[in-house]
Structures are given as C-alpha cells and as structure tokens.
C-alpha cells in the first residue's frame, strides 16, 4: 500500500473516532474553552499519553525519528494566540472542521473556506512575517527532556502521573 493510501486509511479511522467521541461538535469545542465540558481535553490528553509512550518506544528502538518543529517564540506565541481567537469564533479546528462537515454540519464548510483563504493570505504575507515575527526568539528544535536535561522516560512518567491525578480530580468532581 502506498504512503498516500495509508494516509487515507489513517484519516478514515481518525475521523470515525472523532465523530464517535463527539469531540467535533461545535458545543464540545466551545464548552472546553468555557470550562463547561472536558470531553475534548479527555480525548486529547488520552491520545497524548498513549502516543508519547509509543513514539518514544519506537524512537529508542531506532524505528522512528522525531519530526520536531522549531520553537520560534515570535511564531508560536503570536500564532498560537491568533489561532485560539479564530478557533473560538469558528468552533472547529482544521481537522475537526473536516470531520464536522462529514457529519453534516454546513457551517463547517464556511469555516473551511475561510481557512483556505487564511492559508492563502499567510502565503502572501510570508516574506514579511518571516522578517518580522519568525526571526524573533528561535530556540531551535527542542524537546522538554532536552530543556530539562533529564531522560525522556522521566518526563513521560511525570506527565502520566500528573494526568492520572488530573483524571482522579475530574472523576471526583463529577466531570
């Protein structure tokens, strides 16, 4: 099977999981931002927990390589805040907008059209953006274990423990 076909199959399974967990609903996306419903956060954190263990097992076995994005502070901080602002308005993120359209949410179509336009505007603004924002605070491609100078399994263990405590607190409070 070609890489592209595997990509399609992976997307189909991922889209089905997003739909079955209802994390693609406008209500779920807004309510996590409004601290009213933790479904989206539960899905994300659970995926991260399983994923980080698996990815680092593959990396230690020499099977997989990391694909890190550089920590350019000007880009991730401003870009992150701008993305968040737009996310609250559209109520879907890039992947979930596609899934939302798949389950019949017409408003996601307008969101997707907007996102294509936004990507085009960025492509035109790129030379300027690169000079102004993407030149500030480039720390390089770093991982948390590298920043903290500790073994990656220590960071993973700490994160798993922290998230387990968070889950217990959430269960107790009835969320």
């Amino acid at each position: 099977m070609s890489v592209n076909l595997i990509g399609l199959a992976t997307g189909i399974i991922f889209g089905a999981l997003l739909q079955r967990c209802r994390v693609i609903r406008y209500e779920k996306q807004l309510d996590v931002l409004l601290f009213k419903d933790w479904t989206v956060l539960k899905f994300m954190l659970s995926a991260i927990c399983v994923g980080m263990v698996g990815i680092y097992l593959l990396k230690d076995a020499g099977i997989a390589k990391l694909a890190l994005k550089p920590a350019i502070l000007g880009g991730v901080i401003f870009g992150g805040l701008v993305f968040g602002a737009g996310w609250a308005l559209i109520g879907y993120c890039p992947a979930t907008s596609m899934a939302a359209l798949g389950e019949g949410r017409i408003d996601a179509f307008w969101g997707i059209a907007g996102m294509v336009l936004g990507a085009g505007i960025f492509a035109h603004a790129y030379p300027l953006v690169k000079k102004m924002l993407l030149s500030w605070g480039d720390l390089g491609k770093l991982t948390l274990p590298q920043v903290m100078h500790v073994n990656h399994w220590l960071v993973i263990a700490a994160l798993l423990a922290g998230l387990w405590l968070l889950k217990r607190a959430a269960d107790r409070s009835g969320n």
């Binding site: 593959l58 308005l89 949410r105 408003d107 590298q146």
Partner: protein, 173 residues
C-alpha cells in the same frame, strides 16, 4: 438524549487515536497534522489564476500544491466521520449549531460569516505557529516538543479569552 448512549468514551477514543498515531509513525514515519493541507489547497486554487506567480512564491515552494500523505489523511477524516455518522444514524444536516442559535439566533448567514472569519483568523495563526491542535496539540505533544507545549498553551489562552467575549455576560454581536 438517545445519541449520548451511543457515543464512545473520550478516554477510550483518545487512546485509540494515540495508538493510531503511533502506528502511522511506525508504518510511514508520518505524524498527524492538518493545517499544511490548507496551504496546498490555497496553492491549487491560486495556481489556476496565476501559475507563474505561484511558482515563484516562497511559501508555495516550501509547501507546494501537491497531493501528499497529509492531504489524503485530511480527506480521510471527512470520509471517516461521514461513514461513522451514517452507520450510527447520527448524520444531521445543520447550518447553525444549537449553542450558537441560543445565543446569536438562527440566521445561517450570520453563523456562516462568523465561521468564515474565524477560519481565516485561525488558519493564519496556525501557519504562523507552524501547526494546529493536530500537528502541535497531538503530534508535537507526543514528541514532548517544547514549541508544541507553548503553542498548545497559547491556543487555549486565545480561545478561552475570545469564547468568554462571545458567551460571557454581555452580547457583543
């Protein structure tokens, strides 16, 4: 709600998504992501109107308009959701989400405009941050990436502020 009983536990669904992400990296070396595909889509559209200019644009050279793994992945997300919705009887045409309607009314144009503008802003930000909740939030966090932790924090911070402006005490729009 009858539909709620059929929904999957988000911890289970998330764990399965995590396994899927690991399998993807194992089989193809590809990490989940979505927002780069929107750049390629914009490039495809612009190429129709002025191919020469697009061929010379730095960002379209970096993220060339071609169908790649991620393009197929994003297409798959739509198809997978469609299939799951049809199979479980949860497919529903809806132009205005319930929560939006309660707050801002049933006008589909108003909602469509907000979604469109939100989309423009969100994607500009995602490209500036070099990732979205898939690329940074899931894939980057799984790699314990510093940039992704900062980006994810900022995604939520920006989202929390604007969602409160929208759904806080006073109505702004």
């Amino acid at each position: 709600m009858a539909e709620d009983k059929k929904a999957m536990n988000p911890y289970l669904g998330g764990a399965l998504a995590g396994l899927l992400a690991v399998a993807s990296v194992w089989l193809t070396g590809k990490f989940f992501g979505a927002s780069t595909t929107f750049v390629r889509a914009a490039g495809f559209i612009e190429k129709n109107f002025y191919p020469k200019a697009v061929a010379g644009m730095e960002y379209y050279i970096k993220e060339a308009p071609v169908v790649d793994w991620q393009w197929m992945f994003v297409t798959g997300v739509l198809l997978g959701s469609l299939a799951a919705a049809l199979l479980t009887g949860t497919f529903k045409f809806q132009a205005v989400p319930d929560k939006w309607r309660e707050r801002f009314g049933a006008c589909p144009v108003k909602r469509g405009l907000a979604a469109f503008c939100g989309g423009v802003i969100a994607m500009f930000g995602a490209r500036l941050a070099d990732g979205c909740p898939s690329g940074h939030g899931l894939s980057g966090m799984m790699q314990l990436s510093l940039s992704s932790l900062i980006a994810l924090f900022c995604f939520f911070l920006g989202g929390i502020v604007v969602s409160r402006m929208l759904y806080g005490g006073r109505r702004l729009i």
